[in-house]
Every structure is written in structure tokens, then in C-alpha cells.
């Protein structure tokens, strides 16, 4: 019961955030945190719960972003129309990539996903229909509210919050379902899971497809907020890396891990970029690299796992004999 009270308090704080921190920079920061939290939570399904470390999730992110911008640029439709299209395309791509690569041992999957992401970036960069190196733009002047082109970050903040809530509910529901149990078993020992009759390949594939679809929604929202997508912002490998690091820093395989990771790393990046200017871009990723190495070395479970352990130790202490 107390857990739900805390959850409601946290939710109230998140809803109140843009009114307390009301400068455009702070509101935009809040929106970006939520946006990356959506992407990282989506990654968490395959990377955290299933333990299959995808480094190519940017393919799905880009798929959503290009679908949203393409709907406008080629058909004059609202970018919103691109969301289901991007979702469907991402799920299909995930199936095509997933069938061969998910059979492979962990490292191969990771490396294969990098190769897919790089291949996608190179193909898009050389495809005129997708704007080649220049990319695609959204509506410069919104025609109506369905173009989702706002000057203030406030509407985006609440839109992203709703999508994040949906993503988390789906994840929570999945983790409690039969699929979630299978995934945990596979993560611990795939061989043992298989020998007990868990359909490992199929379950991993379904998790990958779900994760891909949700990631594409994050990509579409990103493109709508920024009003354009190009190969670097939509398909650069660094986006994959950011998504992965946020989830791992907060706690891979934990429901709120990605949100915690995003809430730490997005402000770190935005503030250091604001302070250091263009020169900061390099330094930010040096810090990213150092953080990720330190987590891997000392706390592979992420921050939330550490917090949970400390909390349970404190709670457990009086009961100890």
C-alpha cells in the first residue's frame, strides 16, 4: 500500500514539474527527459528484461522519426499518421533482424544490431526519397493541432508523459505476465529455460518486436518536437548508446530504471552543452563513457538496484536474529 502512495506522490511531482520549473529551458529539459525515458523503457523490454543487449535500437527510433516526417513531407498528412506506420515497419524490421540474430550468443546479437544500424544509416543517407544526407522536415507552420508543432515545450511534456505512462504500464503488465516469467528465466539461463519448456526463441522475438514498436513511437515524437530528422539525429549510433546507457545506469530490467537513468543523464548532457557550447559535445560523451564503465565495473545492476538493496537492508535489519 505504501508503495502506491509513494508512486502517487512521484506522479504528482512529475505532473507539477513544468509549473514549478517554468522557464523554457527547464520545460524543454523535462520533456526531453520523458522522451528519452520512453525510448529507454522500450529498450528495457529486450535489453533489461530479456537480457539481449541491442545496440541498434536507433533503427527503430529512426524508423518512427522518418515515418512521421515522411507522412508530412510526401503525403501532406499529419505526422501523427506516421506513428502507426512507423510502429508496423519497426515490428516488421525487428522480426527480420530478430529471427537470425536472436539465435546467436549475446555478443553476436549486440554486434549484429550495430551492423544493422550502420547499414540502415548508410542506406538512408544514400536514398533520395528519405532526403538523403539532408533528411526530412515537418510542417514549418502548423496547419492545425494535429501537426503537433508547438513553440512551447509544455504540450510535448504532457504528451510524452502520457506515452511514457502507457509504455510503463505495458512493461509492467508484460513483466507480470507469462512472457515476463519466461524472459527472466531466459535471462538467467537460456538452456535451463529451454529444458523446462519455455519457448525461448519465440519469447525473445516477441519481446524484441514489442520493444522495437515502442521505440519507434519515441522516434516519431522526437521528430515532431524537433520538426525534422536527418541521418545523424535519427539514425546515429550515439542515440542507441544513450538509450542503452540510460536504462543501464538507472537499472536494466527494473520498471523505473530507465526513467531514473534519463533523469540523470539528460540534464547532465543538456547542462554541459549549455555551459561548454559545441566543445562540450565531446566532453559530455567522455563523461558518459566513464560513467558507463564505472557502472559496469562496480554496479552492473544500476542505481535502482543499489537503492533497492540498501532499502531492503535497512528494513531487514530489525528482523534479523
Amino acid at each position: 500500500m505504501r508503495r502506491y502512495v509513494w508512486l502517487l506522490i512521484a506522479l504528482a511531482l512529475v505532473i507539477a514539474y513544468p509549473w514549478v520549473f517554468s522557464t523554457p529551458f527547464q520545460q524543454r529539459l523535462g520533456a526531453l527527459v520523458l522522451l528519452y525515458a520512453i525510448a529507454a523503457s522500450a529498450w528495457n523490454i529486450i535489453g533489461g528484461y530479456a537480457g539481449q543487449v541491442s545496440v541498434g535500437h536507433v533503427v527503430f527510433f529512426g524508423c518512427g522519426a522518418y515515418a512521421a516526417m515522411g507522412a508530412y513531407a510526401h503525403y501532406g498528412l499529419s505526422p501523427l499518421v506516421g506513428i502507426p506506420a512507423g510502429f508496423a515497419a519497426s515490428v516488421a524490421i525487428a522480426a527480420v533482424i530478430g529471427v537470425p540474430t536472436l539465435r546467436l550468443a549475446g555478443h553476436y546479437f549486440s554486434m549484429a544490431t550495430i551492423a544493422v544500424a550502420e547499414l540502415a544509416r548508410l542506406i538512408v543517407t544514400n536514398t533520395d526519397y528519405l532526403g538523403a544526407a539532408v533528411g526530412l522536415s515537418g510542417p514549418t507552420v502548423p496547419r492545425n493541432v494535429f501537426d503537433l508543432s508547438f513553440i512551447s515545450a509544455l504540450p510535448y511534456y504532457y504528451l510524452f508523459l502520457i506515452v511514457l505512462a502507457i509504455t510503463l504500464v505495458i512493461t509492467w503488465w508484460m513483466a507480470r505476465s507469462r512472457m515476463g516469467f519466461y524472459l527472466r528465466a531466459i535471462k538467467d539461463s537460456e538452456r535451463a529455460a529451454r529444458s523446462l519448456g519455455a519457448p525461448a526463441s519465440r519469447t525473445k522475438l516477441h519481446a524484441y518486436m514489442l520493444s522495437a514498436g515502442l521505440t519507434s513511437v519515441a522516434g516519431a515524437l522526437y521528430a515532431m518536437m524537433f520538426g525534422f530528422v536527418d541521418p545523424e539525429s535519427g539514425l546515429g549510433i550515439l542515440i542507441s548508446v544513450k538509450i542503452l546507457i540510460m536504462a543501464a545506469l538507472g537499472g536494466a530490467g527494473l520498471l523505473f530504471g530507465p526513467l531514473v537513468g534519463a533523469a540523470i543523464l539528460v540534464p547532465l548532457e543538456e547542462i554541459s552543452n549549455a555551459w561548454l557550447g559545441g566543445k562540450g559535445a565531446g566532453l559530455t560523451f567522455v563523461v558518459y563513457g566513464a560513467i558507463i564503465m564505472l557502472i559496469a565495473r562496480f554496479q552492473p545492476g544500476g542505481i535502482l538496484a543499489l537503492v533497492n538493496r540498501l532499502l531492503s537492508k535497512r528494513k531487514g535489519a530489525p528482523h534479523a536474529p
Partner: protein, 287 residues
């Protein structure tokens, strides 16, 4: 069969020898410790920048640059082994991937921060001239790089198969507890393996810096090349990496010449994915 085509193939073989050299480092570490170094390509990149500094700022030639890059990178390899790898290799796979990926970012963006994102290139005439062998024109820098890389890769193979040190390392790879009972320190052997693997990337980096583009993100491309090479050649096998490296060099050169330069990376990635589709069992183990 024109001279140009032969020239392209020879160029591919020479570049492929360098691919083989740094890929054999990856395959050694992977085969011995079952750790995949996602920073491997970035090690090569650091080697390139070390060479760049020596060649341009310090005024030294490849004779200074190549050994220096080898030594510095070998030292880096040892530091990385004791500082990071030794601990994460016992951890979950996520930790391994994250740890080496973090290292890759750290190296890539330290260089980016220091040197900027611009493409650097070395003076054309650093390794002077072009040879003309029976109508086939080969740049001296590429010839030097290819031949040295080929010899060192073969030397590495001999080191692993014909010397006591090599036998000890293989013993640790086979069964580290048993090796320990025989009086071999796994820790030392694994540190040596990291020194060799990283030293190979340093040398490879210094060799290709004379004709390749030098940019902080080059490690990403080279890392994938190394991975493709190791996957094709079978993990843990230096001769396999050699054959696969040469093959990839030729495929890349030919596709660059026949289809267009922008497509050569695409061909390699597509080849890799195609290989994963049709022969995953060939990748999985030593069989």
C-alpha cells in the same frame, strides 16, 4: 582483366592484411577469455592518432611512430585489463558489453575533444612514392603497411603455436584452473594477451594512418570490420582472421571500385548480416 582490376585486388589484399592484424588481436582476446572488446576499433583509432602526432607534430617517420604506437597501446591494453576487464569478465554479459562500450566512448570522445571532429590526413609523401610492378601501380605506404601487417600477423601465429609463452596462453584459454595448478598464472597470461591484442591495434593504426582517413569515429567502422573478420574466420583463430581479413579487404576494394566508394561499407555490413542469416552455426563455436 585489366591492370586496374589487378591493382584494385592487390590494394585490397594489402589493406586486408592490416585488417587481419588488428582483427587477430580481437580474436585472441575473445578466444582466450570469451570477452568481446567493443572498444577494439577505437584502439586502432588511438593508434592512428599516436602515429599522427609523431608524424606531424614531432616530425618522426613510421620507424618511430609504429613502435611507439605499438608500445603505448600495449600499455593501454594492460591498464585496461587490470582496471576493467579482470573484474567485468566474471560479471553478467551486460556488464561486459557496457564496460567495453563505455571504454570505446571514452577513447573516441577524448580524441574528439582534443583533436576535433575534422578529418585529418597525413602528408602524402610521408612514405615516399609509388612503385610500378609490371604496370601495376602501388603506393609505397600501402605496400609497407600490408607487408608489415602480414609478417606481424604470421609472427603472432608462430608465437601462439611455437613458443612456450604461446602454449601457456593456450593452456589458460583451455582451462584456467588447470593451468593454474600447473604453475601458470592466468592473470599474467591474460594481461599479456591484452598487451599483444592492443599492441597489434596500435601497430595497425600507425600503419594505416599513412594512407587512411584519420577521424575520431573511424574506430566504429574498423570495429565492425574486426568483428566481421573474426566472425568469418572463426573466433580464437589467427590464421582464420588472416584469411578473412584478406578476403574482406579484397571485397571492399572491389565493391568500392565496381559499385562506388560510398557502398563499400554497406557491402561489408550486408555480407556480415547475410553470413549471420545463413551460417550462424559457423559462428558459434570452434566447429
Amino acid at each position: 582483366m585489366s591492370f586496374v582490376l589487378v591493382q584494385v585486388i592487390v590494394g585490397g589484399l594489402l589493406l586486408g592484411a592490416v585488417y587481419a592484424l588488428f582483427s587477430s588481436g580481437l580474436t585472441l582476446v575473445w578466444g582466450m577469455m570469451n570477452v568481446v572488446n567493443f572498444a577494439h576499433g577505437d584502439f586502432v583509432m588511438v593508434g592512428m592518432y599516436v602515429a599522427y602526432v609523431v608524424y606531424t607534430l614531432l616530425g618522426g617517420g613510421p620507424l618511430v611512430g609504429a613502435p611507439l604506437a605499438t608500445l603505448l597501446l600495449a600499455t593501454l591494453g594492460i591498464v585496461v585489463y587490470f582496471g576493467l576487464i579482470r573484474d567485468i569478465m566474471k560479471g553478467p554479459m551486460l556488464a561486459q558489453i557496457l564496460g567495453t562500450f563505455g571504454l570505446a566512448l571514452l577513447l573516441r570522445y577524448s580524441v574528439f575533444w582534443w583533436f576535433g571532429a575534422n578529418f585529418l590526413s597525413l602528408p602524402e609523401n610521408l612514405v615516399g612514392g609509388t612503385f610500378d610492378i609490371g604496370g601495376i601501380r602501388i603506393q609505397a605506404s600501402r605496400l609497407l603497411a600490408g607487408v608489415v601487417a602480414l609478417l606481424v600477423t604470421l609472427g603472432l601465429h608462430l608465437l601462439l603455436t611455437r613458443t612456450t609463452l604461446g602454449s601457456r596462453m593456450l593452456a589458460v584459454a583451455e582451462d584456467s584452473t588447470a593451468a593454474q595448478l600447473m604453475g601458470i598464472r592466468p592473470d599474467t597470461m591474460q594481461a599479456i594477451a591484452w598487451a599483444i591484442a592492443a599492441g597489434a591495434t596500435g601497430l595497425a593504426g600507425a600503419l594505416i594512418a599513412t594512407f587512411f582517413y584519420v577521424v575520431p569515429t573511424v574506430g566504429e567502422t574498423l570495429g565492425i570490420v574486426a568483428f566481421v573478420t573474426v566472425s568469418l574466420g572463426g573466433f580464437g583463430s589467427v590464421p582464420g582472421a588472416l584469411v578473412a581479413g584478406l578476403l574482406i579487404g579484397v571485397i571492399e576494394s572491389l565493391s568500392g571500385y565496381l559499385i562506388g566508394a560510398v557502398y563499400k561499407d554497406m557491402v561489408v555490413y550486408a555480407l556480415f548480416l547475410g553470413f549471420l542469416w545463413f551460417r550462424p552455426q559457423g559462428l558459434m563455436g570452434k566447429s
